[in-house]
């Protein structure tokens, strides 16, 4: 401005200036392109691995695939728990043009409740539009057929199959087999704690009861996975690879479904439980608690109405066979006889005089025999055959509670039998320590007297009674009672429960024979004579009649209910054949009076069936 510029423009100087500036500009461009290239080189070459991994993390998702649950068979290969396809009507909202119109036309084809439509609409609101949602679950065959025929008119609607547990024998097996139902939050939490949650990522159901729960790990199997490519909204574009899940192991039970059905049939409307066990291996042939209920109700989520119906005073949800607590009553007299003989309190020939009652010296109280006028002269055989109470009052008095308690504990009383279901209670085998702990009181000699006939504080589950009988007929050998025989996968078969528990050892094993012979006599000339008239197999047994104390743990004392249910419980235990026992049977019926009247005839029907199904010819020829 200040300097006066020449009026003539120096074009060549200006051209040179421009050329220099253009050159600087180009160098500048080249440098920046170099920086850009270097940056891209860094991303694509130096850090390529990192970004390739991140790119794969973006697009590849692993979807868990649920394993098929192992099947459950009875001892003869009859299927007891199977996986059936259930058909659901599913909808992919994205593929439906006019949802309202489509819903209306579907509802003209099959019945869909307002509730189902409402739930469905709620679900699609909370989920991605390409995700399939169930509109109506568990379609019947007719509905599947109708929908299949009309499929073309309903884009986005489809009938989808999924495997679901089904129990073809319904309420016959509930307490033994249990059931599976939807995995809940608490179970998921427990699985997380155990570090098993990844294995359940695709699983809907879990064993809730019985064998299904006890063998959950074996039945479940190992989760598989599907590697898929997804887009940015999580929609699956294609499957890249598949790791097939390993199905759960199949289980073969020791149960015989035919025998189980007979047991159910025999009990009819009577509350009670029956257990049939093979003393040779501890396998349980039948285990039934009455009343029962349909486990299939629980598999798809039981309705409130159905569930409330199960909360009736008959308590069908309780497994009476393993949770019912009953006084073992006279069924333990053979065991006590063995103890009395072992301890020398009595001998095989000792006879006592039974006036119809027993008294502790210098005590006024009279413990009455069931037969008011007594059994006159009684030896150990007659005491068991006739179920003489006075004989055992005296024996118990002489033995004292500690010897009784210690000996009976060896037969499994006061302990869990260890049967392979979790629903079990240990009931009560009284002892000095137990009473001190429970009531803060000392043990009185009078407390021992009623224990001598399996009453007083003593309670036992039918399972414990069955187990103690099995030990008795095995002459001390203790075989673990169990429901599952083998688990198998493909060709791999595992035999379960082959180990024995510590046996009951007698100084004089002949004492076993005295007790068993007396039980043999019981069905021939004793209390169970009438029930077993004319049977073809050689058997032995013992009746029992118990005053009602309680039926299960946790039940509240209810005076009114007790009045209705204050009748005696009947018990029968038996085994056959006498020389080589194949089965022991335990029948407990609630509030039906003495064991000889109701329980024994039930036991006979079951044994009759067993020996017609498994005839003894072979043994008889030998």
């Amino acid at each position: 401005m200040i300097k006066k510029r020449p009026t003539i423009r120096d074009h060549s100087a200006e051209a040179n200036l421009f050329a220099r500036r253009a050159f600087v500009g180009f160098v500048f461009v080249v440098i920046i392109v170099g920086i850009l290239f270097h940056n891209v080189y860094k991303l694509q070459v130096t850090e390529h691995e990192t970004y390739r991994t991140r790119s794969n993390d973006n697009r590849i998702k692993v979807i868990p695939v649920a394993p098929n649950r192992g099947l459950i068979y009875d001892r003869n290969g009859v299927l007891l728990a199977e996986n059936r396809p259930v058909y659901n009507l599913e909808v992919i909202p994205e593929d439906v043009e006019d949802l309202e119109a489509s819903l209306a036309s579907v509802r003209q084809l099959i019945e869909i409740s307002e509730q189902e439509v409402e739930d469905f609409k709620k679900e699609i609101k909370h989920n991605r539009r390409f995700k399939s949602q169930v509109l109506k679950g568990r379609l019947n065959e007719e509905e599947v057929a109708i929908l299949s025929v009309n499929q073309h008119r309903l884009p986005g609607f489809s009938v989808e199959a999924r495997l679901s547990r089904y129990y073809p024998y319904g309420d016959t097996l509930t307490h033994a087999l249990g059931y599976v139902a939807k995995l809940n939050k608490e179970e998921l939490f427990d699985l997380e704690l155990a570090g098993k949650d990844t294995n359940y990522r695709a699983t809907h159901d879990i064993g809730k009861l019985g064998v299904e729960k006890f063998y959950e790990e074996q039945l479940h199997g190992i989760v598989g996975s599907r590697r898929v490519e997804v887009n940015n909204r999580g929609r699956i574009i294609r499957t890249l690879s598949m790791e097939t899940p390993q199905p759960g192991k199949d289980l073969v039970l020791t149960l015989d479904i035919g025998l189980q059905q007979i047991v159910q049939h025999v009990l009819k409307d009577t509350r009670g439980a029956i257990i049939v066990m093979d003393p040779r291996d501890g396998g349980i042939l039948a285990l039934y608690s009455n009343p029962s209920y349909d486990p299939n109700l629980f598999v798809h989520g039981i309705s409130g109405k159905d569930y409330r119906a199960l909360l009736n005073p008959d308590r069908p949800l309780i497994n009476r066979a393993t949770q019912g607590r009953y006084a073992p009553a006279s069924t333990v007299k053979p065991h006590l006889a063995v103890l009395a003989l072992e301890e020398g309190v009595v001998t095989e020939t000792t006879k006592i005089w039974d006036p119809g009652f027993f008294q502790i010296p210098n005590v006024k109280h009279k413990w009455r025999d069931w037969r008011p006028w007594g059994h006159e002269h009684v030896d150990v055989y007659k005491a068991i055959e006739q179920s003489c109470d006075t004989y055992f009052y005296e024996a118990a008095y002489k033995l004292g509670i500690t010897k009784i308690s210690d000996f009976m504990n060896q037969f499994g009383f006061g302990e869990l039998s260890g049967i392979d279901i979790h629903e079990e209670t240990s009931a009560i085998l009284p002892s000095v320590e137990w009473k001190r702990e429970r009531f803060k009181e000392s043990w009185y000699p009078g407390d021992t007297i009623s224990v001598g006939i399996g009453q007083g504080y003593w309670t036992a589950t039918p399972m414990q009674i069955a187990n103690s009988l099995s030990i008795l007929v095995n002459k001390g050998i203790h075989r673990q009672p169990h429901l599952v025989q083998i688990s198998k996968q493909d060709t791999e078969v595992e035999q379960l429960f082959t180990e024995e528990k510590p046996p009951v050892v007698l100084k004089n094993p002949y004492h076993w024979d005295i007790a068993l012979k007396a039980m043999h006599n019981t069905v021939k000339i004793g209390t169970a004579k009438s029930a077993f008239k004319g049977v073809t197999y050689d058997h032995a047994g013992k009746t029992g009649t118990a005053q009602v104390i309680s039926i299960a743990q946790g039940e509240r004392y209810n005076a009114e209910k007790l009045k209705e249910k204050h009748r005696d419980n009947g018990i029968y235990v038996g085994f056959a054949p006498f020389d080589d026992p194949q089965i022991v049977i335990t029948v407990v019926v609630e509030n039906q009076g003495g064991g000889s009247a109701i329980a024994a005839p039930m036991a006979r029907q079951v044994m009759d069936y067993y020996f017609s199904a498994y005839p003894l010819e072979k043994e008889q020829q030998q």
């Binding site: 461009v29 392109v33 290239f37 891209v40 850090e47 991140r54 973006n58 697009r59 940015n232």
Partner: protein
């Protein structure tokens, strides 16, 4: 008038610079292939893209027919018209996505800022080219004012990307005219407090967010950082050879945002790898080199400044876009020139190349 008595080729008759034209056509063919992949093989989008390319070629051819003298004459009226429309946009403009950039002309929407991309360098070149080079302080001040007014108007729309492009087109013209290094040095020194002031008073919240996200994209991987992270993953996972055409998982599975427009470089990098990037950058360098060569060969100051400014502005597109998608610069809405899908910017760019070709062919006609 046949220069050097040589018969004029067809290309010379229609004022086309063959090397530049060949490079541009190569880029356009490449663009078609990449947009086809980035759009998820959408034929409808391809038809629209092809149509716009055709329109852009027509615009280039049209602009090439003007002589530099004509352009010199229309510079001021076009500049004033554009300025008027920019003011009109502020008052009557149509809003979209939070920015008011369009004028509704009844038949079509129109972005006046596109006119300014050409009008600003033309006007600065005309004004500075009238006097001696290097320009005087007064002329420089006026030149800056010519640049500054539309830049501020456009930034207020707000459209940071375009205002950067327009500011650079003017400033490049001044630089090429011989802006003294001392002034450039002091300008750079002033940039520090200036940047501070700009941050506090000149930027919108969303623009600040873009800058913050740029500084640490992983701090907000699902929000604003998502674009940059996904873009870097796309580029990085491409490796040297790329995943192959139509096989880029980041783009085909839609993890990459804006993949056919601003982030198309990421698609190219993912599918064609470092080899594809090298070819692309080489083509850009060739176009810029050719543009600057034409500018140097041009006959008068106006032509030189205009061709040079347009060429260097073209490079700003390249730098800002690639810098942004590869994480060197904050996300600023600038397309990858000649490759991105998108109408107006391609038409304007090609019109600019038309002007460069007019300058290139004009030189030959003046040679006697």
């Amino acid at each position: 008038m046949s220069p050097l008595n040589k018969p004029r080729s067809l290309f010379e008759k229609v004022h086309i610079d063959l090397p530049l034209f060949a490079a541009l056509i190569t880029m356009m063919i490449g663009s078609l292939a990449i947009v086809y992949s980035a759009s998820g093989q959408d034929m409808g989008m391809m038809m629209r893209h092809g149509t716009r390319m055709f329109g852009a070629l027509v615009a280039m051819l049209f602009m090439a027919q003007f002589s530099p003298n004509t352009l010199k004459r229309v510079a001021i009226p076009v500049y004033l018209l554009g300025l008027g429309m920019l003011v009109a946009v502020l008052f009557f403009g149509v809003s979209s996505k939070g920015a008011q950039r369009w004028l509704d002309l009844g038949i079509t929407r129109f972005q006046p800022s596109e006119i300014m991309k050409l009008a600003v360098p033309m006007t600065v070149a005309w004004f500075i080219g009238r006097s001696h080079l290097p320009p005087s302080i007064l002329n420089l001040t006026i030149g800056f004012a010519i640049v500054l007014v539309p830049t501020i108007l456009i930034k207020e729309q707000p459209d940071l990307g375009t205002s950067i492009l327009i500011a650079s087109s003017g400033i490049f013209a001044l630089f090429l005219a011989g802006l003294s290094w001392r002034l450039i040095g002091s300008g750079l020194l002033l940039a520090v407090p200036g940047g501070y002031a700009f941050w506090h008073y000149g930027m919108h919240a969303y623009q600040k967010q873009r800058v913050l996200t740029f500084l640490d994209p992983e701090s907000d991987p699902l929000g604003s950082g998502y674009h940059i992270i996904q873009s870097k993953i796309a580029i990085g996972s491409g490796g040297v050879e790329g995943k192959g055409w139509l096989h880029g998982t980041q783009s085909q599975l839609e993890f990459l945002p804006e993949r056919h427009t601003d982030f198309i470089f990421s698609v190219l990098s993912e599918e064609f790898g470092l080899l594809g990037v090298t070819i692309l950058l080489s083509l850009y360098l060739f176009i810029i080199g050719r543009g600057l060569y034409i500018a140097v060969q041009a006959q008068d100051a106006f032509s030189k400044l205009l061709a040079g400014a347009l060429t260097l502005t073209f490079f700003v597109y390249v730098f800002v876009n690639i810098g942004m998608v590869s994480g060197l610069l904050p996300v600023v809405g600038v397309p990858l020139p000649l490759i991105s899908y998108g109408g107006t910017s391609m038409v304007t760019l090609m019109a600019g190349f038309g002007i460069i070709m007019a300058i290139a062919t004009d030189k030959r006609m003046l040679l006697k």
